[in-house]
């Protein structure tokens, strides 16, 4: 299994950033290449089905959506994935300051980079979406 981590310090309250991250149906507003999503109830649990700009679809099982810890985790299933776990942590650093850490663990290894390679841009987009004055800094 391989792991990719991207992080961004955002000059906005953690609660504001979490309001977007925890709104699981809004991922297409800030993750590059995701153009639409819908939420499904399945036997395995809640699933976010995302449509990519290439027309591909991915099903993401929502593993954790904890507003107290401000942690969101999801797992992509199907396709070439044998394992995947995406983790977004929003860490409070002060009144108008938080750190967002986006981790991607996957098998096959290459898929960690294929998906996780986009998360840096996702965090930048997230900072723009919440109106961070400088767009965040790594």
């Amino acid at each position: 299994m391989a792991t990719i981590r991207r992080e961004l310090r955002i000059d906005r309250p953690a609660s504001d950033v979490w309001a977007v991250v925890g709104d699981v149906g809004s991922i297409h507003r800030w993750f590059p290449g995701i153009v639409a999503c819908e939420l499904l109830d399945t036997d395995a649990g809640p699933v976010r089905r995302v449509e990519l700009a290439t027309g591909l679809q991915l099903d993401e099982l929502i593993v954790t959506n904890d507003p107290i810890a401000r942690r969101f985790q999801y797992s992509i299933s199907g396709g070439v994935f044998r394992h995947h776990l995406g983790t977004v942590d929003v860490i409070d650093l002060g009144e108008d300051d938080c750190l967002v850490v986006y981790g991607t663990d996957a098998t096959p290894d290459v898929m960690a980079l294929v998906i996780g390679g986009a998360t840096g841009q996702a965090l930048s987009n997230l900072a723009d979406l919440v109106g961070a004055p400088t767009g965040g800094s790594t």
């Binding site: 990519l52 700009a53 290439t54 070439v80 290459v110 980079l113 294929v114 390679g117 840096g120 841009q121």
Partner: protein, 522 residues
């Protein structure tokens, strides 16, 4: 009306694959003739030995530290400087046909323009350029993309899928089921990345690139000035030329390369004299980058596999040479023959058996670092034929294109126009080139900085996963043309080493900030 520019690149082609450079396996009469009529460079050096950084250098005229594409998978920003933009703004018609690879291929999210463009049906798209003004993507008004097969989103794959769908699967599958570079072999010897490809030659990507180039040229007005980057995906692996062409070269007749040692003990002794990642990769104990099959162990390479790969590679070089000949005939047919500059080169080399290794990686030796480069100036320029022995670099191409067009170089460019002979080189102090390698893949980091002069090549290692920053390589190119004697720790040349290392660090180019993230494997 000014001089027109046909910029021809191949992918991962060694210096010694051309007849004009002493190659004996492939027949390359077209490039050989360009060399005879023009300028042949004896030591052309890439600023990176992998595709995306090297191609970004060609386009921007900058070193990788400055343009920021530090490894495959790091996209060149769409507003990066581009010599094509400069030429387009000066009135040149501009096209790039074939392999671009300024942006990652492995892109299921459809994030990158190169992958999205073919689906749009448009010849280009408007983006903000380096000067803040709008213009066609990277300065090219016409873009038609291809790479090493028929999968993915690029134009050639879409064309083959739409017109000859039963041939899409003819190609070697570059990636395996885990999306790693495939280690399987389907030729006669089990050599990795070899396949006998049933596709007809006229539908193979080499011919497609040439045909699309001719089509674009045919659409231009006679008095247009133009810059056409014709970029062949071969002879980069996979080595799967059309099987109808295999009769050209029987691999059983191909001699083993000078840099390959059949004697295992001798081969391993040479490897052990180099920094430790060489032997670690050979033994299958370290994978530092995505550019070679993860599950292939170089120590398993056989003499026959080397022969077969070299034969397949040579067949691909011959097909490129013939395709280029057809494009040059079409140019002559348009009446442009005296006003076209032709520059032929590649992005980096291929180990191709040297040291018992294949493919590429953090190995700054001639297999990867000595490139074919031929410039046939327009006949109307009256530049005399020459051979240039001083080191030149791909970073010098963009200023050369500006000079051909009669334009000043962009102030962002870090190279200088190519010398037309050694006297010109000496008068302008053309004497060294820089190359860099930075890779970080799943916890393994490798970092090299290299200075190439006419007589020495010196590589210093930065601290990384398997290096502590004290390692290095030093080769005397005349005494040791195969770079088999590492003199880094030789007391008799320690003063030379220290001088070269000082020069290496003193001449490092400025670094782009912030650093661009690795965003895909390739």
């Amino acid at each position: 009306m000014g001089r027109k520019i046909l910029f021809v690149t191949t992918d991962q082609q060694r210096y010694d694959t051309l007849g004009c450079n002493g190659g004996t396996v492939a027949r390359t009469p077209v490039v050989d003739a360009l060399a005879a009529e023009g300028i042949r460079y004896e030591r052309a050096v890439p600023q990176s030995v992998v595709c995306m950084p090297s191609r970004s250098t060609m386009l921007t005229g900058q070193h990788q530290a400055t343009h920021g594409v530090w490894m495959n998978g790091v996209p060149l920003p769409t507003d990066a400087p581009s010599v094509a933009t400069l030429l387009h703004r000066a009135g040149y018609r501009t096209a790039l046909i074939g392999k671009a690879h300024f942006e990652p291929f492995l892109d299921p999210l459809g994030r990158f323009t190169e992958n999205r463009l073919s689906a749009s049906g448009a010849p280009t798209t408007e983006t903000t350029q380096y000067d803040g003004l709008p213009g066609p993507h990277r300065g090219f008004e016409h873009l038609q993309f291809a790479t090493h097969g028929a999968t993915g989103w690029l134009h050639y794959a879409q064309w083959l899928g739409a017109n000859h769908p039963h041939h899409v699967r003819d190609y070697y599958q570059v990636l395996d089921g885990d999306l790693e570079v495939n280690a399987a072999g389907f030729g006669d010897t089990g050599a990795p990345q070899v396949k006998h490809n049933p596709i007809p030659t006229e539908w193979y990507h080499t011919d497609w690139v040439a045909r699309r180039t001719i089509d674009w040229l045919d659409g231009l007005d006679a008095d247009d000035d133009w810059f056409c980057w014709m970029s062949f995906p071969d002879p980069h692996h996979p080595w799967d030329p059309p099987e109808s062409e295999l009769h050209r070269i029987d691999w059983r007749d191909v001699p083993l390369p000078d840099g390959y040692r059949s004697d295992v003990a001798e081969r391993e002794r040479i490897l052990d004299s180099k920094p430790r990642h060489w032997r670690l990769w050979y033994d299958g104990a370290l994978v530092s980058n995505y550019e070679a099959p993860t599950h292939w162990v170089p120590a398993t390479l056989t003499d026959d596999q080397v022969r077969e790969i070299n034969a397949m590679n040579a067949i691909e070089c011959e097909l490129i040479d013939e395709a280029l000949g057809r494009v040059l005939s079409a140019i002559d047919h348009r009446g442009w023959g005296d006003d076209v500059d032709v520059v032929f080169t590649t992005d980096h080399g291929e180990l191709q058996g040297d040291f018992g290794l294949m493919f590429k990686g953090p190995y700054h030796v001639d297999g990867l670092m000595r490139l074919p480069l031929v410039w046939r100036p327009a006949r109307s320029s009256a530049i005399d034929p020459a051979e240039v022995t001083r080191p030149v670099g791909l970073v010098d191409l963009a200023p050369t294109f500006c000079d051909i067009a009669g334009l000043p170089s962009g102030d962002w460019m870090q190279g200088r126009r190519l010398p037309t002979d050694d006297v010109d080189a000496d008068q302008r102090g053309v004497e060294s080139q820089l190359t860099a390698w930075d890779s970080e893949l799943f916890g393994v980091g490798v970092y090299l900085r290299t200075l190439t002069l006419e007589d020495w090549v010196c590589t210093a290692y930065l601290p990384g996963t398997v290096h502590d920053g004290t390692e290095g390589e030093l080769y005397h190119l005349a005494d040791d043309p195969l770079q088999q004697v590492n003199r880094w720790d030789d007391p008799s040349v320690c003063a030379v080493r220290d001088d070269l290392v000082a020069q290496l660090w003193d001449t490092q180019p400025p670094e782009r900030h912030p650093r661009i993230d690795l965003q895909a494997p390739v």
